[in-house]
Symmetry: D2
Subunit: 366 residues, 4 copies
């Protein structure tokens, strides 16, 4: 029921504003005796960190995560794990004008309307700053899932420029490469981002994510649906405006035969890919690995739309706190395409949803 | 934490299988002293009922809803409201073959994998039968929201045939008209559905929904996000594979200037449209009425993709319980395009999410 | 968050008023493939049923429970199990005077203050009628726990008359014997109850409950504490005003040495009583089988105080809806000592709490 | 569902072990625009702090609370409020022997059985150290309740020595006075505690708490019962073994007439005591201010039993990790009577439960 929590038996609750003392989170319900060190978490955080490329925001923070509780002699104890990152480089002067202006596309106006008060420094609670803790929590979730489950995401489109599916290579998806799975597309993205930046504007993006190795049977038929939980998790990431699971919107124009994921008997000796030996061979995966809310043992995949960041240099019409017409231009440090930095966040939320469902499934079905 | 519940302070929990004794639900947390009669609920149920058109499933049920509790002298008392519909016309013989076969695209296989047991009669718990209770609960949610908030949905595309935006008319969206907002498109849909049915296949569809009159301030910045809750609610409807809020996937290829929803001072005397007089004039609504998880006072709108029903007459390859190759063809009564019957369900889930957030907002912000 | 739900992963939600259509509940999260028939549940309900003794209320209902969902071919499927009992013998005319009067000790006045509306027929939602569903749900919980865990309760005192600890015999605790574990005390209770009834008054009672066979390790250190959950569950039973776990209030006047539950090495060959062979021998059990919120493997026991029923024939001063002085005397059918009928309810709630913690423990610790 | 959370719409989640980096908590759902400074919270923490009297543990910590988030310009923003206290004086060497021994009455043994791992430094998560954060959160809860609601608790008995009801004075209940409401009893408590300390043992205690000014109507009839939530909250405090609300166990030996809380019409001009003018005059308060789970507008009061601390100097029989017989004597700093320091914790949990119900009531009933 908490407004700042996520998950059912693996439960994540976060705190912190962009320019407050620190951001942090509590991850509760973690199974005991899992190896966990700060560096395991730091590794994922570094993948999200800004300042590594000229195409992501220039705020340079050490972003050193600290484990405050729940770990003893490098193992989880079953107690809640609190993680914290101190906000070092928080120049709130950059934002002072925003105390009186509402930035279009931001939560400024609605926050004022909801709460009657607003921490205007850097977007306060609505800043993407909080997402660093999701990445941190996601590192714990991956540990719970174990190494047989591989979760990864990539940027598949920036503006009009989509990657070529045939050249898709997960290996090239590094933070230095803008999480681009297609090195031939990368150069065009970079110039496109430079153009956008110089024009004082920003670009939208698309992210594709997948999880391999998830066994059949996680999820639930109606309200603990794996796809519903994934949809909520992803739609809860800043700037995400759409999600499609499996074939997504393409199913609209398909007929039932074309969209069917037929099954065939497991091939003799077949033990790979889709889990245990007795799994059937699925002849297609339009469903995206989830049937009726429950994992099928196939690859789970989905795609997200992220809007161009609303923080742009180009002046936009807006109103001030008194309701009068005004203009606003954003001078702070901002990413021209937020989809890039969102990749590790998508992976983290994906891992958190799956780990929660792993434990839930164990609760009911042993 | 319940697998069969939905909502935070307005909480819906359902029971029932397609061919069990009955389907029902409990709606908990309903404010007291709201007028409520069975006929208020029945009206919405009738909009969902099958058998009204030759393009929806031919199962003919009275679907008479009964209020079991929580209402006294035609007013809600604040106690949980239980609703029940007895399953009258449940011909389980139609499905007997399915005890040993897994239908592609259905939950048959994953249910067996998850639970090790399966009520195979008509899909059991995973049948769309349960959605009738969501429609019933949605009728209560609308009462909580009051008549200043108008929620409606329509089919905007079937197969390749999208309606013409210019001719969009909510008035023509009746159950008899396949919830089509464009009478000129209706005829082509009907022939397309006839073709599909004769070919033993089915068609995908798209639904668009909107809510007008929602005040600014409902939702929360991070995990009680209005858009995240809507995404989960919609992705939890059978056959839904994608959701886009506001401009959705179109934002990918847009730049930040084109996607900005600029604001201007409220016009003198302006009291309509977006709520109270002091609301700014939004010059666009690409965000779909939700900013940073909180309603902006604008129209909230989104669009959904529904896959073609997996229950088709055309034989499909599958496996049986022993893992051997087989074929399955569905002979039961099924809709060639499930998007049509999903319209009242979408509206109901939309209403339930909004009513929950109305009460949540009141809890925290008075 | 629901007001009418109970439990974390095994979740119980109920509906119904004393004189409404029916009372019922949904038990969600039940593991699949457990044998379950209506008669398994009916057996426990019959133990609670009124009319079996002249010392319990004379309302005679069939109280036939019906399973509406979640069971297929006599096995649980993992889907929510809905149970219902139709209210057959609901003479609301008995209560009509209560539409305008507030009975002291009842929820009449506070219900009116909270909701501004009140179903006055027989106490409405606040009637003990709802507890029949807890007993029903408890029967399912016992199945989840399995037969190695034995839960039982007895009346240990009525008015001033406590049973003799030395003569305590669980075998004599039948519904016909007023759940009295000491046949020599029984006769004095019966005459005491007759006296009270004739005098138009009622008597308080004490219940003692225990669970044997609970393994060490269920519960959690802080907010999922087994004792805290038991306290909530028991205090939620109508008329319960106090709970003491283990030595309870006796600990106040004890010193730390006297209250210590010392441990000794397991005796060679010792496999009984406290679980697995390597369990230590506890030399006392003042803690009541729960240490720091977690079961120790010892017997879990507690004691409850139940107030004399507030529904008595003797006229009591009260006010009416307009706030004017009045008198009320209860003429309906009521138990002179509600503790008697509460025994199966206490057992049921005990079982529900333990079963929930069994599944919770499995979720986190495997 | 979280194991380390508490509350429904006002939700408290904590982290931290006795000898970890820090203890902290997140309080979520706090209404916006409430004045809040660190010193408001510090005041309550200081009342709990050890070292103020020779009868409480000698661990001297600054216990300076820090607000990490959710407050802007000394007002709550509606965002989660994180509070942290760094563990300064954590001498883990005191406890090193405990790595291999299980202290009777402590969670050592059950923690090992549950999780298979144990942070043995000072009791780890099960230490009373965590309760400092409840006191901190309680200070926020009091702010939500406002100054018309007064919550207070006192020690009413230590060992055999109960205070005299006639001399009860809330004014003398300071931390220096061991929260004793009767100065004449105080001296006997002090010598009794000195005797216990010298004998290497400890004493049990009883706490009485009350809340005045709670309006009629908070709570819910069945599972959101105010008394059930209070019972869980109190039983979740370390060392609490029993709770009685209102007349508590005394009701067992009473009859229905003696236990009735009769009502009379409000006296003309009566506006004090029990809330609004139209409230009836209750002629007694055996129920403790809660009827059927809902506040009646009367004083809410209850009483708790706290066991003598299990950490005593006197050697006790126990077993070590290998299951062998051993002895343990506690040499760390410990309170001879934990009831004393529990007083502010009881008040804090009381405030948290009431504040949660205030918001819950607002959600449903406006």
């Amino acid at each position: 029921m908490s407004f700042n929590s996520f998950g059912r038996v693996l439960r994540y609750t976060s705190w912190g504003e962009s320019h407050g003392v620190s951001v942090g989170c509590i991850v509760d319900g973690v199974p005991p005796r899992i190896d966990l060190r700060e560096e395991d978490i730091q590794r994922d955080i570094d993948r999200r960190r800004s300042g590594l490329s000229r195409h992501t925001s220039q705020r340079r923070e050490g972003d050193k995560v600290k484990i405050l509780s729940g770990v003893f002699e490098d193992k989880t104890t079953g107690s809640p794990i609190a993680l914290e990152i101190v906000n070092e480089d928080a120049r709130s002067k950059d934002y002072s004008e925003l105390a009186r202006l509402y930035r279009p596309g931001h939560a400024d106006y609605v926050t004022e309307r909801k709460y009657g008060i607003r921490d205007w420094r850097g977007g306060g609670r609505s800043s993407a700053r909080e997402t660093v803790m999701r990445v941190a929590a996601g590192a714990i979730a991956r540990k719970i899932l174990g190494c047989s489950i591989v979760i990864r995401a990539a940027v598949s489109q920036i503006g009009d420029l989509a990657v070529c599916e045939e050249r898709w290579s997960w290996d090239s998806c590094s933070v230095e490469n803008l999480f681009c799975p297609d090195v031939e597309t990368l150069a065009s993205w970079q110039s496109s981002l430079d153009v956008a930046r110089r024009a004082g504007t920003s670009l939208g993006g698309r992210i594709r994510a997948q999880a391999c190795g998830v066994p059949a049977g996680w999820g639930a038929p109606l309200y603990g649906k794996l796809d519903a939980d994934l949809a909520a998790a992803m739609m809860g990431i800043n700037a995400v405006k759409a999600i499609e699971i499996g074939a997504g919107f393409d199913v609209v124009s398909r007929d039932g035969v074309a969209n069917a994921d037929e099954m065939a008997a497991a091939t003799a000796g077949d033990e790979g890919g889709q889990g245990s030996r007795s799994d059937p061979n699925f002849l297609a995966n339009n469903a995206g690995g989830i049937l009726g809310g429950i994992s099928s043992g196939q690859e789970i995949y989905f795609s997200l739309a992220l809007k161009p960041t609303s923080s742009i240099r180009k002046p936009l019409r807006t109103v001030d706190k008194s309701g009068k017409d005004s203009f606003v231009e954003t001078r702070g440090r901002h990413d021209p395409c937020v989809a890039i930095r969102a990749v590790p966040i998508v992976e983290a939320m994906f891992a958190l949803v799956l780990a929660d469902h792993k434990l839930l499934h164990r609760a009911q079905c042993g």
